[in-house]
Amino acid sequence: MNLLFYISSFVAVAATIMAISRFHPVHALLYLVVSFLAAAMIFLSLGTPFIAVLEVIVYAGAIIVLFIFVVMMLNLGKDTALQEKNWLRPKVWAGPSLLVLILLVEMIVLLLNAQNAIMHVAVVDPRKVSLSLFGEYIIALELVGFLLMAGIVGAAHIGKQKKKILHRFLKEETMARVEI
């Protein structure tokens, strides 16, 4: 199990670094998916399968796919990659990295000096979660449904385009006129 943990942690760190440093947004997002999957693997190796599954479903499955869709719709091409390249200069990332390095050193010192302690972990399985969601908190769950409905109705209204009524003959006519 320990080996599994180290391998997946290594993958997670490598994928995250790649996600930050890629210039093309889609490449970066793909690495981000890998990073989330690796995090899920870490949870699995620690013995919490439910959280691992949630990580895959919610982060990798839903949120990142949404991100990728938006990026595809925006159709970011080479220009953006060039812009990113311009932004990612050492001057920009040196400061934050230095500060993070301090934190890293701190953490390593703490880890080296640590005594072994037993963590009290209460395992929450899917059954418990769903029982409390659909048991005592059922009304809250239904209200969340209404919350989503409010969001959808609002977005649909504000995003609605004005309907253009163009008869196809009229359209051809205007096109022809443009050609002339």
Binding site: L143, L147, G154
Partner: protein, 479 residues
């Protein structure tokens, strides 16, 4: 959940079902008129449901809700305000927006959120109710999406409300860390056992940010004027009444159940916020030429007054606050009703110049507006005076001299700008404008009737407040 608990939730379920019904009506391509009438009938049925379950109260629905007299009183105020807003909306949106139907879905959902707030006894239901309310409000504020102001103010509200929700969650998390529970009752128990808890104070202090944002209290008031100006007039009325009633109700319930007023620190924080709101709100309103912005600033001041009734934390304070909210919401609905009736197709009637010499063109509207402005200023024989009197009485009982003094002084300052508007109404008319003929005679007449009823209510509450106070007291005793 047994049958009685189910019954107690009936009004809220009817409210939720109403939004679904509106969706179905839209799906069947019903006209705006049909939807308006159906929405009105469904709001009536919510009230009927409340009347029907009144005798079975109080009911607790653990762990999230308690439906008691307090909740019923505030829910009633919310539903009545929503009905008035819906009535004003017909003529307003019929003329301005090619697509006015989704408005009613959002209106019902926002009302549902506010109503859930009034009965919640748990942080989860508090948060979800608040989110239902604010997500619907984002869309309602930006509903006239062709106007630049509307989209801008919608964005402003969205960003600030999202930040304030984050604060709220963080505060809840801190309190949960300290007490190990999110139910108000159990939080109260566990902080009673451990006397001074830094984490609880921190947590509630952070929650005040979110609550202060929703109520537009002073350090968190920057959105108020812009959003009031940019939102459509009926929606502004909705923000000013329904959303604030809901948030204030849940604040009051939380404070009562954890005995917040026994902590000197909390009293100090709320006194400072109250005094700052009264002073800053009134000062900013003094030179305002735009009536919607003026109402925004005056609402900041009025919630400062309301906090003075919140400070004592006893039965008299709760009664005073309930009466104040009742009088204030009727007044604001009347003011924004007049604004939305006078609005033209392109622009809301917000400049003070529009109102110059209104008396010579529209005597009825002028009478309504005058009475409601006098009530806001707190002139005797109107509801505003009695409401302020109750607040002063409850403050003086507890020897809260400083907030009470500030209240009196700032009320006098407030008189200046309310009377400035009133004097504009009766000035000589600038030019003779021809009144446009109304396209919807039935709804125009009913809007006028509603405005006149509100005016009479304001006078009645001002002259004979006894019946209303008794009613409020009766409701508050059901617990």
């Amino acid at each position: 959940m047994n049958e009685l608990q189910f019954e107690a939730l009936l009004p809220f379920m009817v409210l939720a079902a109403a939004s679904m019904t509106v969706i179905l009506l839209i799906a069947f391509r019903m006209s705006h008129t049909v939807i308006q009438v159906a929405a009105f009938l469904m709001a009536c049925s919510v009230i009927l449901a409340m009347w029907y379950v009144k005798d079975t109260l109080p009911q607790t629905i653990p762990p999230l809700f308690v439906v008691d007299g307090f909740g019923a009183l505030f829910t009633g105020m919310i539903i009545f305000s929503m009905m008035a807003v819906g009535l004003f909306s017909y003529v307003y949106f019929e003329e301005r927006e090619e697509n006015p139907k989704e408005y009613y879905i959002l209106l019902f959902l926002a009302t549902l959120g506010a109503a859930v707030l009034t009965i919640s006894t748990h942080f989860i239901s508090l948060f979800i109710g608040l989110e239902v309310l604010s997500v619907s409000l984002y869309a309602l504020i930006a509903y006239l999406r062709n106007r630049n102001n509307a989209v801008e103010s919608g964005m402003k509200y969205l960003v600030l409300a999202a930040v304030s929700s984050a604060f709220l969650l963080f505060g809840m998390a801190l309190i949960y860390m300290e007490t190990g529970s999110m139910e108000f009752e159990r939080i109260a128990q566990s902080i009673k056992e451990s006397s001074s808890s830094v984490l609880f104070n921190m947590g509630f202090g952070i929650m005040i940010v979110a609550i202060g944002f929703k109520l537009a209290l002073v350090p968190f008031h920057l959105w108020a004027a812009d959003v009031y100006q940019g939102a459509p007039a009926p929606v502004t009325a909705f923000i000013a009444t329904v959303s604030k009633i809901g948030v204030f109700a849940v604040l009051l319930r939380f404070a009562l159940s954890v005995n917040l007023q026994q902590y000197p620190l909390m009293i100090t924080i709320f006194s400072v916020i109250a005094m700052a709101s009264m002073i800053v709100g009134n000062l900013l309103a003094l030179r305002q030429q735009n009536i919607k912005r003026l109402m925004g600033y005056s609402s900041i001041a009025h919630f400062g007054y309301l906090l003075v009734a919140f400070l004592p934390g006893n039965a008299a304070g709760v009664e005073a606050a309930s009466f104040y909210l009742l009088a204030y919401s009727i007044t604001l609905l009347a003011v924004f009703g007049v604004v939305s009736v006078l609005s033209t197709r392109m622009k809301d009637a917000e400049e003070l110049a529009v109102y110059k010499g209104l008396f010579h063109r529209q005597p009825i509207l002028t009478a309504v507006l005058t009475i409601s402005l006098l009530s806001l200023a707190g002139i005797p024989l109107t509801a505003g005076f009695i409401a302020k009197f109750f607040i002063l009485a409850s403050g003086v009982q507890q020897n809260l001299w400083l907030p009470v003094l500030v209240l009196v002084i700032t009320s006098v300052m407030g008189l200046y700008y309310y009377l400035r508007v009133v004097s504009t109404l009766f000035a000589a008319p600038s030019s003779a404008t021809i009144a446009a003929k109304s396209l919807h005679p039935f709804f125009s007449v009913s809007t006028y009737l509603a405005l006149i009823v509100m005016m009479l209510l304001l006078c009645w509450l001002g002259i004979f407040p006894g019946r209303a106070v008794e009613g409020i007291r009766e409701f508050l005793l059901i617990r």
